[in-house]
């Protein structure tokens, strides 16, 4: 199975645990926010005590880091609050030093946390994918209408990472004070969020305050939405985000999935018929002459692992 529906999880009152996995230095602590129990992929909130130090090295998973509080030095770069790193698997990240303590979200995307000391990149590393940027300082807020239908005005976004194959996104977003959106939404993708500051409200789950987190699998209703005093959050999707809006408070994920498929049937009928027709089905994804090896991409492989084989692919 993939990660379960964790919503909401307010982690602030939970204790950190010592990180004792091989390869992880002392003085680092973690809380699991969500975990794929098969692959080990996970989202952690981590605390690095003053004096934490780690030598240069790599992981066998793509890793994302978002600094919540304090400062960490990565190689020669000072990463303060709001700093975001996308570290491709096999990328030899510079030595990490934390002089005064630091908290961060740390996400291992493909497998359980791993660390191998190294000052050179793995031969297969897609090192061009490395991203290092300060989300607070290095990009302007944009209106969140990069997808249509779009959220109501007052929800703003900064995209930090975009996967060209899956269109997965990592981003920060904010809701202005008195933000309101009166509809119910679901998506084809998993959606994840951590509230850095502020409280938002959803009709299904109530308030999500500072320190609130969710991992929401596809096709699960959420909304209507409110934020009285505003909020700022870090978010991710694992593939393309499309907003399916509606106003039925009692639809379930199966009905939502069928409604999404019906939309494909209406809007891309040829493609729907081809995918659905007997003998032309490709549960692992059909060939793509532009991206010949896309099946081998770890992000794409993850989709197949997550797929529930509860139905026949051939009709």
């Amino acid at each position: 199975m993939a990660r379960p529906h964790i919503e909401p999880f307010v982690e602030l009152n939970d204790d950190y645990k010592n990180f004792s996995l091989p390869g992880f230095a002392a003085h680092s602590h973690y809380k699991v926010l969500s975990l794929d129990v098969d692959t080990g992929a996970c989202t952690l909130k981590m605390r690095f005590d003053a004096g934490y130090s780690r030598k240069p090295g790599m992981s066998y998973a793509d890793v994302e880091i978002f600094v919540l509080t304090g400062t960490m030095k990565v190689g020669e770069q000072i990463c303060g609050e709001g700093h975001y790193l996308f570290v491709p698997a096999g990328y030899a990240l510079g030595a990490i030093d934390v002089p005064e303590g630091c908290e961060a979200l740390v996400m291992y995307n493909d497998s359980e946390p791993s660390f191998v000391e190294s000052d050179t990149h793995h031969a297969l590393c897609l090192k061009e994918g490395f991203v290092s940027t300060n989300a607070y300082e290095d990009a302007p807020w944009a209106v969140a209408n990069l997808v249509t239908p779009s959220v109501a005005s007052g929800c703003m976004i900064k995209v930090l990472h975009y996967d060209v194959l899956s269109e997965a996104l990592s981003f920060i977003y904010c809701m202005t004070p008195q933000f309101a959106q009166d509809n119910i939404s679901y998506h084809d993708c998993c959606e994840e969020s951590y509230h850095i500051w502020g409280t938002s409200w959803m009709m299904q789950f109530g308030d999500l305050p500072t320190g609130g987190y969710f991992w929401r699998p596809p096709y699960i209703d959420h909304g209507a939405f409110r934020s009285k005093f505003g909020t700022i959050a870090f978010g991710r999707t694992d593939s393309k985000l499309h907003n399916y809006f509606h106003f039925n408070p009692w639809s379930n994920p199966d009905e939502n999935r069928l409604r999404a498929a019906a939309q494909v049937y209406r809007q891309r009928p040829e493609l729907y018929q081809w995918i659905a027709s007997d003998g032309h089905n490709h549960p692992h994804g059909p060939p793509d002459f532009e991206h010949k090896h896309y099946h081998d991409n770890p992000q794409i492989q993850g989709f197949h692992a997550q797929h529930h084989h509860g139905h026949d692919h051939d009709h």
């Binding site: 091989p22 129990v37 096999g90 009166d182 009709m203 789950f205």
Partner: protein
């Protein structure tokens, strides 16, 4: 076939396997706690849903961005008669 760094990951160590097992159990307990807490909001949620259904008939439902349309009374869905009708954690 192209190869990735992920393909060269060594077999999962005993320590990592134990860590994963421990955290999977903790997550299962967390999930059950969340389900209980969210199920406990049902009375409030019924009120929120009633308010939502009123708003979309007066102020309108957001169709895209700030574009709204008024939902007519005959379009309002009825709560289905099935065991998972109130379920919101899946």
């Amino acid at each position: 076939m192209s190869k990735n760094v992920q393909d060269e990951k060594p077999a999962r160590s005993e320590e990592a396997t134990a860590w994963l097992k421990q955290e999977a159990l903790a997550q299962e307990a967390r999930y059950k706690k969340i389900v209980k807490e969210i199920d406990g909001l049902q009375d409030k949620r019924d009120g929120w849903i009633a308010e939502f259904l009123q708003i979309i008939q007066t102020k309108g439902v957001n169709v895209s961005g700030d574009l709204r349309r008024i939902v007519t009374k005959d379009e309002i869905p009825e709560k289905p008669d099935r065991p998972d009708a109130d379920r919101v954690i899946w």
